[in-house]
């Protein structure tokens, strides 16, 4: 029993101890749990950290190698590119030199050719000189022509006046208006009057007056030109550009007269009048005989042609009867 009481008192103590221990453990459980968690976490962290740093180191190694590889590749590429660019620059520079030379040459030779421009301008000056000279000559020529025409007009007017004033010519008895005795020499009009040939005005003088230069008086053959005129005696032989036809209504001018003796002779001269014919009076029969002979040999046409020709003969023969 004592042991039971002891155990019972121990039970109480035991229970109490148990409860105390439980409560003590209960109290410390939290703390110890936390502590354990902490230690575990820290340890795990260390583990992980070590693992991570290991991983990092490995990664670094990989990246280092990779980067070196790519950088070297890139560098090789860059070197190639730089080399290429250097070459291109060199080529371009050389090309620029060539182009520069070429463009300078081309522009100087073809586009802004100094010598061509110089020679062009010289050519222009020379051409101008030439043209000026030629124009001067042309003008001179034209002026001379005009003056000449003027003079011709004046002269024809004067001659016409002289022709109209022919009656003012001085005679042996009485000096004319233009030949005054007080003058040292006769007036030029006087000379003209002396030269002008007077023509009795015919019906055609009216027409002649209106177109003086074109159609001269009825008798003169042509209008010669400057000093000559139809009225001036001495110029007859000059040629004209236009053939002047004789006016139709004029009397036919008689050609040179024959000597009176010739005409008398013609009147008195008797031709050889005989009773004989110039041909024989059997001429007709002989001719016909000839024809008939030829007729036998020839054709119809031949005969016809001969018969036609034979017709002429009777007429011929008849004329002397």
């Amino acid at each position: 029993m004592a042991e039971l009481l002891q155990i019972k008192s121990q039970v109480k103590e035991f229970q109490q101890e148990y409860v105390d221990k439980n409560s003590y453990a209960e109290e410390n459980r939290q703390k110890e749990n936390q502590a354990a968690t902490r230690i575990q976490s820290w340890f795990r962290a260390c583990k992980v950290r070590a693992y991570l740093s290991h991983l990092h180191k490995q990664a670094v190694i990989i990246q280092k190698i990779w980067r070196g590889f790519t950088a070297r590749a890139r560098f090789r590429q860059m070197v190639k590119a730089a080399y290429f660019i250097m070459k291109m620059n060199f080529y371009e520079e050389m090309a620029v030199r060539i182009q520069r030379r070429w463009r300078g040459f081309f522009v100087r030779k073809y586009i802004h050719n100094f010598y061509a421009r110089k020679s062009y301008l010289e050519g222009v000056s020379q051409k101008n000189e030439l043209v000026r000279q030629e124009l001067d000559e042309l003008e001179e020529l034209q002026k001379r022509e005009r003056d000449c025409l003027e003079m011709v007009k004046e002269q024809t007017a004067k001659v016409y006046q002289a022709y109209r004033l022919h009656h003012l010519l001085s005679t042996k008895q009485c000096p004319g208006v233009f030949n005054s005795p007080f003058r040292p020499a006769p007036h030029e009009m006087e000379q003209l009057l002396r030269q002008v040939k007077y023509q009795a005005p015919t019906r055609l003088a009216h027409r002649g007056r209106s177109c003086l230069l074109g159609m001269p008086g009825p008798a003169a053959p042509s209008f010669p030109g400057t000093p000559g005129s139809p009225w001036i005696k001495n110029t007859r032989t000059c040629s004209s550009s236009r053939p002047i036809l004789h006016p139709i209504a004029c009397k036919k001018e008689q050609s040179q007269f024959r000597e009176p003796g010739e005409v008398w002779e013609q009147h008195l001269h008797c031709p050889d009048l005989t009773l004989r014919l110039q041909t024989s009076h059997t001429h007709l029969e002989e001719a016909q005989k000839q024809l008939r002979q030829q007729e036998g040999t020839g054709s119809m046409l031949h005969h016809l042609s001969h018969s036609r020709s034979s017709f002429t003969h009777p007429a011929y023969a008849k004329s002397f009867r």
Partner: protein
Amino acid sequence: MSQRQIIQVFEQYQKARMQFVQTVADLASRPQNIEILHNAGVMSMLRPLMLDVVPSIQQTAALALGRLADHSDDLAEAVVKEDILPQLVHSLSLQNRFYKKAAAFVLRAVAKHSPELSQSVVASGGVDALVLCLEEFDPGVKEAAAWALGYIARHNALLAQSVVDAGAVPLLVMCLLEPELALKRIAASTLSDISKHTPELAQTVVDNGAIAHLAQMILNPDAKLKRQVFSALSQISKHSVSLAELVIEAEIFPAAVACLRDPDEYVKKNVTTLMREVVQHTPELSQVIVNCGGMAAVIDYLGNCSGNLRLPGIMMLGYVAAHSENLAMAVILSKGVPQLALCLSEESDHTMKAATVWSIGQIGHHTPEHAKAVATANLLPKLLELYMDASSSEDLQAKCKKALKSILQKCTYLPGLEPLLYDAPSNILKHVVCQFSKVLPHDSKARRLFVTSGGLKKVQEIQAEPGSPLQEHINAINSCFPEEIVRYYSPGYSEVLLERLENYQPA
């Protein structure tokens, strides 16, 4: 009364009418009678006589009417108002050639005064009737019809178009081939009047082959014909490059230059006008004319004539020089600049002066060589004078300014620039000073000359705002010279020296 007596009455009346109409026609040929005739109511008297039975009375009445209408536009309007036109037009197709001539004369006399009157002629069908007349045989009728058409077409493009629409142009070109000189003249003048308005009209004229025929008539001895031919060719070529090229291809050019020595002054003027119209389009066309020696001929022509006749020549030189610098050099070598200087000094009309100034500007603005040629002819002071002159017209002043500016920007001929330092206003002065500042740094002789001729002194006297381009140029010039010289020439230096003298204490 017997038949004979009755008929005698009629004959007397006819004689009276004839006499009246002939007297009126004679009186109408003198201008002083026309007012009196108009107040006496001649228009209403003549109108029934135009319907008269006797053809010679009709013709003389038409002639009198034409002379009256020719004289003044009131009478021409009276002709229109009295409704004579439709009847004239109607009888144009029926009557004989003398009447046609007289009727065409009336239409011409009416149409010449104003576009409205021409429009009324067109409205009454006159153009078609006149074109029918152009197909007649008689050259007098053709001439009168062509003349009337020319006066109608002269006024404006619409009327010219109506003439062309009636089919006149081929007939006119055929008239050019006729042997009568008067007809050729009138046909050429009408073609010129038609083609002057628009390029399409000119193209129509060209399409009918007018150019070849006109080109053949260039060396004809008749002066009036040549006037009209050249006028027609210039009116055709003024519109466009292709028309001008067509005219040049007809190979008129070396031959036309000979006409520049014709005694008739209007021929010369029209040749120069033709050259101007051709030259203004492209450098190649100008080249053609320069190569055949046209430049020298025109410059000689400018020397020989005076007044308004010079204008086309001056403008031609300007157009040629405007295209490129070697053409401008060709103008200079042909002695164009002294001639233009002469023109500038001799002419007093402002439009002429403006044209001359413009031409000079076109010549001088290309390179320093050209500017030097202009400056040596002493033109720069003259241009400045014209610019400053208050009595110059605005157009002249504007052109002077433009020419001066453009020449000065290229001028490096310092003796020519110096006179301009003294009188020029500031906007011109800055260009002058700019040129000095460009040349002086490089040329020592020029610097010496600049100092001795008083140019440096003048430059110091110029007052410019600091910072303006003028001041910069002045500084650039001053930096070309040693400081003592610049100070010596600066204004007021003598006072400064005297002050220093006063303050000086001898030791």
